[in-house]
Homo-oligomer: 327 residues x 2
DNA sequence: CTGTTAGCGCGTTCAG
DNA sequence: CTGAACGCGCTAACAG
């Protein structure tokens, strides 16, 4: 384990000087700066981040908080894209990250959660797809000591920005692709009390007012299985099935095929698997990568002392073709 | 930020004693133990892991090394399952983890890589799907200071265990489901020089000897697009298309459908998307969760001073139905 | 059984 | 412009 001392010895300066060089202080002669950097390279020195963050109370990492579980299919694609976006942006900016998984937090008490992120030397947290049941994280948002960028939850505070597409508008637009006046429409909503679920529901309700059709709402919990089974039971009574997620749309479509009937269906999210199911279903394409990317920029804003804001990301209404997914 | 001192003050003992209680030392009176724990709870104290690992040179985290990119579709599902397995096992065992992404390492020099993991206070690394191009990680494996569990690469050393299914046998068996003597067989292999690609290729070659058929091998690079386009061109000359990955099988199947011909196809991996493509394609089902889970146990073995070993995980030959993926 | 002491590796004053 | 000295929060060795 080569420490800053080794570098100092090799460069014939003191440890303090090495530190200054590495931190980019200005008042260092070019001469010694060069020597130090050379020693660093020759020795392959990497600062010990534990010691570093312990010493300088400067916590600078961004914690990336991810829900990882097997309850909902295809969540992994969305998470990976969020993650890629955020990681790429952090790399561009030279910011260190820590990945934190929800199950890790579930073990902790309310208050200890703060300390936990603290001990990770994070001062900011990006929350991908905040869950309304996640008391732990919701409590954390109250702590002014951290900055947050939250995806898919309409929460704005001095230290909290939120990032998402206009769910209401998106649901309105995608549904309007398939619904005609007078249609009987079945709507599979997401999780009861979920943030996005509510907004999407408002979207379809708005469309109902504007276009006048019969609307039945079923809580689909984003579950493909529920959509599948409910569709098997009910599809023959409806002209359209509007789904608050692609996976539910896939379940509904599958059921219709099995029933041998045609019902207009729309989805929501724009995930790749839509390109494989052999049906052309209009959906809302969210650019998850960009959302993740943008979250980092929000954190930067907050760190700079700006107040939290709501960031609305663009989306597209489209069908996902096989061609588009195989690249 | 409440530190060990605060706890000590509240419990009216010294910081050292608190530390001992928390580390589960035996020679502590029940009385003070209780007091300390109470103070810990009341204050919501969480040890600062940076300080902890800095002090005790005891590095105990397991670093989980993941390739994250968008080059190959559906890698995300596999990675997530690996990850879930490893994380679950680590939680069961009370081991802390750090997640490290390949792109982070790509910035580093050879030697600094070691220091990097060091500074993360990791003494072990789990590598999911080691890439033969990844010089950085391959070099690291030479370092006896770390323990490694490597998935999908046949590397065994004192400090390196590897975990995977019997690729050779799996490819043999799944292909034998569709190939009959005298068939003309097209084989889409994985990445040239890839570890698993080679083993799978051996499997099909072995089958060729045993069953006697005409075999053409094309480097498919695990790419759905390549399989798709090559199949469009060549399918009518073959009876079977054996693919070294599910995504290639899907590409091949799609092409056959477009050509309006039937060719027997097999896949490899057992990922969920196979349940959505509407074709019943035999494949090798790997239990990625269990593989991730098992990797942690291998690390434990190595930490206990045992030598690295090859761990062969079970697999199944099966078709993935829609029913099985919607649960 | 418990308190005291001495660092872990680094960043940051403060002198010089 | 540079070096010495202190302390971040914690653990370990040593006293008592």
């Amino acid at each position: 384990m080569i420490s800053i001392k080794d570098v100092a010895a090799r460069a014939k300066v003191s440890a303090g000087t090495v530190s200054k060089v590495l931190k980019g202080y200005t008042n260092i002669s070019e001469e010694t700066k060069k020597n130090v950097m050379q020693a660093v390279n020759e020795l392959g020195y990497v600062p010990n981040s534990a010691a570093s963050t312990l010493s300088s109370k400067g916590k600078k990492k961004i914690a990336i908080y991810i829900y990882i579980n097997d309850k909902f299919q295809q969540i992994d694609e969305i998470n990976m894209l969020y993650l890629m976006g955020a990681l790429d942006r952090c790399r561009e900016l030279g910011i260190e990250t820590v990945t934190v998984y929800n199950e890790t937090l579930e073990r902790l008490q309310h208050d200890t959660c703060l300390s936990y992120f603290n001990s990770l030397s994070a001062d900011s947290v990006i929350v991908f797809g905040l869950n309304k049941d996640d008391r732990m994280m919701l409590d954390m948002l109250e702590s002014p000591r951290f900055n947050f960028a939250v995806v898919d939850a309409p929460i704005v505070k001095d230290n909290v920005s939120c990032v998402y597409i206009d769910q209401r508008k998106a649901q309105y637009e995608v549904a309007s692709q398939i619904i005609e006046t007078g249609d009987k429409v079945l709507y599979f909503s997401g999780k009861k009390n979920g943030y996005v679920s509510q907004m999407r529901l408002e979207g379809i309700r708005q469309l109902q007012k504007d276009r006048n059709f019969e609307l039945t709402v079923i809580e689909g919990e984003f579950s493909e299985a529920i959509a599948y089974h409910q569709t098997l039971k009910l599809a023959n009574q409806y002209d359209c099935i509007v789904c608050a997620s692609d996976m539910m749309a896939i379940g509904a479509k599958k059921a219709c095929k099995e029933l041998g009937i045609f019902v207009k269906i729309s989805g929501f999210d724009g995930i790749r698997v839509m390109g494989y199911v052999g049906s052309s279903i209009p959906t809302v394409r969210q650019n998850f990568y960009n959302i993740g990317y943008r979250c980092v920029d929000e954190i930067i804003r907050l760190r700079d002392g700006e107040k939290g804001q709501k960031v609305i990301m663009p989306f597209e209404i489209d069908r996902i073709s096989y061609r588009s997914v195989i690249k």
